[in-house]
Symmetry: C3
Subunit: 200 residues, 3 copies
């Protein structure tokens, strides 16, 4: 189930990346690369930083196939995908929840401090988008207005707090990822932002 | 011979990077760094992703000396180099062919899947230019119009197809790199681009 | 003493990064990330390139705490920090000297060539700023006008020259870092730049 959601998350991130590349009017290769880094850039950066090389997607091709699928789907179904904006947003939100937990677990596996694990979870979920924005020559959107990383960080804190209670792993995963998904849905619905420290 | 062409390719990439830095009116340090990342950025990214560290140029200084040479040549001969634009383009094209094969081989050495090896070949040949463009604050040119990465990918596919026939390695290298070089020359001469998916 | 200065340098770099993020009107998460990469980006890149993973700050949380401290200090004391511009510049200059030596030592530890060690020193001291500028969508300032990397490089050359005389390590560190600090103070005071190769 978890594995399945991971793959769905990758596909959603790839489609969202491909749509961004399309809007930037890149050529097909550019669109593909943006789909790729949006989906796998965060996990790749995490793997490099913790020395888990060759990085994950080089050893399990499922992820690469998902990105090829997302790329082709975007090229073919472009107009319909725009209408599916809401479904895509849902997948993307599921991806946020799942990817955060995957990043947390990688850090725990090699015995890193909880603060570092939370950083790895956040990186896995949101730095693909940071790399996408850099390649598209923009200041990363999550540094400016989206309450995205904050949700990952909160999810990570909840994860370690609940972990104190020796919960079953599956329940822990389910509660933490549901929390992040609901948090994001509420955040977007109610237009929550981080408090701006700037006087207008 | 192959080693020799590799060094020529590095020098050509370094000069092309230095010229870019110059046109951006960077200071000498900036010009040097742009020469460096254009020539070695792709291979460095590849080495990091597969965990081949310390990365290649830290262990064999030949490459660093080539970049210093290319940097100095550019500073001194600037005006003449502009006239040598065609020779430079030729070297750059040779670099494309050679670097692709080097990247492919690194992936094969550690037993990665052909798809990943082709990705590594493409990365080695073209991601130095991507990093150069990011540092110069532009959307990477190979994501927008140049049919550059496509040539690397085609070369990689040809490499693995021919490999089925148990060819002699030298012949395999020669045929694959010649194919890429001729492909590039024809592509530039005839202004071939990837089909644009956008209606004008 | 050296350890202490390293921490002060990290704090100074973090504050200088946070102030940059603030001026770019990023949200609090963005300001934090810019503080982080300015302070630790250079050392992180160095660790990745030489294969020293998990990277340093994942194993010793002191650095992360310093960045959190620098981030909070900037948010709270913003206006006063602007007035402390001169103290900050001093800390930043100390950071330049210390970080260069730390980078040099990491290269020496694993037996790399002096040229590569000097590159690692320069990277440690100045590539945090390069990553900061890329994230803020600007051409890195040290590629354009600041005589910053040049000071690191000169410090590295002095380090290896003095090393020939079998000096005591502490004296070697003290002399080299003092040289870089004085060099920077003089460079800024007298507005020294690298000679521009461009005719105005």
């Amino acid at each position: 189930m978890f594995q399945f959601l991971d793959i769905i998350g990758t596909l959603a991130f790839a489609i969202s990346g491909a749509l961004t590349g399309w809007h930037k009017k890149l050529d097909p290769f550019g669109v593909f690369i943006i789909a790729f880094v949006t989906a796998l850039g965060g996990g790749t950066l995490r793997d490099i930083l913790i020395g888990r090389t060759p990085v994950g997607w080089m050893l399990d091709l499922t992820y690469v196939y998902m990105i090829i699928l997302g790329f082709i789907a975007t090229i073919i179904l472009k107009t319909r995908l725009e209408k599916l904006r809401i479904s895509l947003f849902l997948f993307d939100t599921i991806g946020l929840g799942i990817f955060t937990i995957i990043g947390l677990e990688k850090g725990i596996e090699i015995g890193l401090h909880p603060i570092i694990c939370i950083a790895l979870g956040t990186m896995t979920a949101s730095f693909g988008g940071v790399i996408r924005d850099i390649l598209c020559n923009e200041i990363p959107v999550i540094f400016r207005k989206e309450i995205y990383a904050t949700i990952s960080i909160s999810g990570g804190v909840l994860f370690f707090s609940l972990n104190e209670f020796q919960l079953n792993k599956d329940i822990l995963y389910l509660v933490t990822s549901s929390f992040m998904i609901v948090f994001r849905l509420l955040a977007v619905k109610n237009k929550w932002y981080l408090p701006s420290p700037y006087k207008e």
